[in-house]
């Protein structure tokens, strides 16, 4: 991929994520022009919320260099391996671009933090962070990724890396890909009937009989509730 295609894929991601943007601008003629969406996704928005989403999608916050740096950091934080996808595979950069526009408190710390990173990198290696070798990038990250060990003069870098790590983790694990990796099982209609026995046992618990007597018999969940005059359920 060339630089523009890389950027496009970072910002737009793949359509399969559900964070689907429609109608990429057909004439993305200059490298400065990033494709924008026409429609906000459907997740129960009010009219004013739709309008706000649309404005946010149409705005651009990070420049190309910043986006590429974010992408490198995201994939250092959650790298690709034989077992796992990289953070950028789940469009984490697009999420960070959006959230910086949505929650303005992120803007200066992220933008300034990226600049801090390049300054630090220039000092050490006389080149910007993304131009560094993998080993050099890891060396830089090692100085700011472990709060208990950070040199006092690098504390600002630590704050930036922590923010990047937080946003990368949220961006990745709240994506479809990330939820699958985590093994999240919910958000699906079901008839919930307690903690599976073997899990309860593993933790040294069992449901007390007296407590279970107060609990729902799922085989009768469709039977219309009836009570005696003392409030005892009889159906």
């Amino acid at each position: 991929m060339n630089r523009r295609d890389t950027l496009k894929s970072l910002i737009l991601g793949s359509v399969a994520t559900g964070f689907a943007l429609h109608g990429c601008s057909p004439k993305a003629s200059t490298s400065n022009e990033l494709p924008v969406s026409n429609d906000a996704p459907l997740y129960g928005r009010t009219e004013s919320e739709k309008l706000r989403d649309k404005k946010l999608f149409e705005a651009t916050f990070f420049n190309e260099h910043e986006l590429l740096t974010i992408a490198v950091l995201c994939d250092i934080i959650l790298p690709k391996s034989t077992a796992f996808n990289a953070a950028t595979d789940a469009n984490t950069v697009a999420f960070i671009e959006f959230i910086a526009k949505d929650i303005e408190a992120h803007q200066i710390p992220l933008r300034g933090g990226l600049m801090w990173l390049d300054s630090f990198s220039n000092k050490l290696y006389n080149k910007e962070f993304i131009a560094c070798s993998k080993e050099e990038q890891f060396y830089i990250c090692d100085q700011i990724a472990y709060p208990e060990k950070t040199e006092p003069e690098l504390i600002q870098g630590e704050a930036f890396f922590t923010r990047m790590r937080n946003l990368t983790l949220t961006g990745f694990y709240s994506s479809k890909m990330g939820m699958e990796e985590l093994g999240y099982k919910g958000n699906t209609p079901n008839v919930w009937d307690g903690v599976p026995d073997h899990i309860l046992k593993k933790h040294g618990f069992e449901y007390e009989k007296a407590w279970l007597a107060k609990c729902v018999d799922q085989s009768k969940r469709g039977d219309i509730a009836q009570w005696d005059e003392n409030g005892n359920l009889i159906s």
Binding site: A40, P41, T46, R52, E148
Partner: protein, 572 residues
Amino acid sequence: MQIKESPETFDVIIVGSGAGGGMATKILSEAGLNIAVIEAGPFFDPANPETRTQLKWSYESPRRGASSTRDFGDFDAAYGGWNIEGEPYTKKNGTKFDWFRSRMLGGRTNHWGRISLRFGPLDFKRKSLDGLGDDWPISYDDVKPYYDKVDKLIGVFGSNENLPNDPDGFFLPAPKPRLHEMYYIKGAKKANVPVYPSRLSILTKAINNERGVCFYCSQCSRSCSVYADFSSGSCLIFPAQKSGGQIKLYTDSMVREVVTDDSGKATGVIFINKLDRKEYKLNAKVIVLAASACSTARILLNSKSKIHKDGLGNSSGLVGKYLHDSTGSDRVAFVPDLMNREIYNEDGVGGAHIYTPWWGNNKKLDFARGYHIEIWGGLGMPSYGFGFNTNELNKFIGEHVSGYGDALRDDIKKFYGAIIGMSGRGESIPVESNYCEIDPDVVDEWGIPVLRFHYKWGKHEKLQAKHMHNTFEDIIDGMGGHVLGDKPTEDQEYGLHAPGRIIHEVGTTRMGNNPKKSVTNAHQQLHDVDNVFIVDAGPFVSQADKNPTWTILALSWRTCDYIISELKKQNI
């Protein structure tokens, strides 16, 4: 321009469509009365796929559910929040009060926690017990039949425990505890704190053929599309419409004032249609205010006339006074035994499957009144905020904090679901010096003078919050957990949330037998005007260590029975 006046005279105008207004709509329309319901927000039906957020995935929101557009996150059903554009409120003398409003049919019932606790016998007679605040003019026995009817009409799961101040009822069966809740039970037992199945208005079992049964997505805050949880639209207003009630809904309509005639009797209301920004007047024989404790106080205070110079129903000067919210403070713990847990679908119902009602003996304590404990945690859907500082937890187990790469990935999985939270929600002491009033300088975008709040917590509330944290720590110790964060200090008011934050504000039009010391009588009827009733939480004399909704519903029903009977007798 002239106010547009409808030629029709309704039997009853109901202002507000939340719990109190919804119940009034149902009961009064079923009695054959011709009703107008006026709601300041848009129409809302939880079943509408266009507005539905239930079962949406975090990644369907570009902000992954963050709270930048809705205070409780993108998927929460409330339209509105702590701040509504164009509808400000102010605060006096540097005091704090945060006012949550939902502008939509059904109001805040669309997003609330469904915690449906009856008040107990002691809760109506607090002054007699501790000398603080006032007794209600009614007792538990007056309300019990209505609580029973509300249980059966709307449905609430729980268990009959024969507790002295947490009455039994007609409960649906409870869901079994989740895994982190088993740890809470273990910790609470060691700390000698009782635990019972919680009491939530969610259908774990069918109660009729119209509403669906819970399918355990844990998302009641998104309002249930099959109507398996209580919301005022799905359980009260829509059924009332379906059974043929004469109900006219005026949505996006903001009531400014109640209109009275020369004799001082109410004749109707004036509202502003938010869509055309014009004023309208509707007339009725009876006005039922259910706009929420503070909004109703605002309407009354803005309804000034020759006879009601200080506002309608305000001859006592007490409209807006005795405003009080529940106390609240929270704590979070890390439970190492929950690390690396096997993942299963732990959604369950929306809210905790267990709770701790107040168990203390105030005679042995340095504060009045009590609190209940709500419990949260589990294997929830990752959304905005997931993973934030997760690996800080490593310091408890002697490993590297933070970092990146595969070790970070391992940490995320290790700690997923290993956090448990506790929230104390308690009773405050109502005092006259906590109040809302009309700000003389400010109007909202509808030209309506806005509320100004003045509120300070007292020593009882602060010491209660201190006690909450001691209790939380005991329970956390008992479950083998590590308390996260520092214990809040006296300077931090022991972690007490700002007033209003628990969204249980009540008391602004309190009931009583003495018209000089109360705004409404025991039937929630204005002392000053016999055809105006209040069926929100304004008439509450005291809040109890419970949540207000079930009592709002029961008292609204009781008041409606009284209205019907008074209309029959032609007394109003």
